[in-house]
């Protein structure tokens, strides 16, 4: 199971610019195996939550049409250097991952 997540943060004018890259297949369930004609089963992230210092700042619900290896960029006003950032996701198969970073 891919548990890779890359998190990049940058402080610009008192707001934290955060970019998260998640490694995930994001299978829509519509793509077919050319040999068997069977559709690959859907496998995609349904929810992503971001919290700073244990307070949720962003709760995303995703459909399967978000690209493979999804990118999520967002900005949080008032975040300071040293604040702790937690990103957690869960997909439609119940797989989940969590990553932490410090805002710098």
């Amino acid at each position: 199971m891919a548990e890779l997540m890359k998190i990049r943060t940058k402080l610009v004018d008192g707001s934290a610019h955060i970019v998260v890259l998640i490694i995930h297949p994001m299978e829509t369930g519509q793509r077919k195996d050319p040999r068997s004609g069977q559709a690959y089963p859907a496998h995609f992230i349904q929810s992503v939550t971001a919290s700073i210092n244990d307070k949720p700042v962003l709760v995303a619900q995703w459909g399967p049409a978000i690209s493979k290896n999804p990118l999520l960029g967002f900005r949080v006003k008032g975040a300071k250097a040293g604040d702790s950032l937690v990103i957690a996701w869960e997909d439609n198969k119940g797989e989940k991952a969590r990553a932490t970073a410090t805002i710098a």
Binding site: Q30, K32, P56, V57, L58, F74, V76, K77
Partner: protein, 156 residues
Amino acid sequence: MNQLRRLILKGGAGGGALACALAAGLLRPSAAFAAEWNKPAFEAKAVADALKHIAAAGATESAEILIKAPDIAENGAVVPIEVTSRIADAESIALMVEKNPFPLLAYVDLANGAEAYLNTRCKMGQTSVVKVVVKAGGKHYIASREIKVTIGGCGG
């Protein structure tokens, strides 16, 4: 964490109601603040239905929502979309691609200082209008923009 999950899943499959309840409790620690996945909205096949399910039917057109995206996307599997809203008190942002099999792409709730900004990459089956719905101050605002796609990113 994964091993624990596997154990719990095994227990659940064995038929113990207690194990099931435990699994449900342990697997959803985020449920306290994460809204349940809005299944009807994500499975809606038309923009109007999806709008209804996110309670945004009748959203007002707004020029204060900026959608930054390529006019022509060569690869429909990866279309970068950047949304910025200048409407004060944004609470949520929803992204939709009109001609995708399921138009709703993402529904994002913002809280505790998160700005009305979102950057993501999505799949587009064909040339389509992209719609962004921003909820601000209890009202819904909508903006759209067409993106031309040369190679679709949905089928196979």
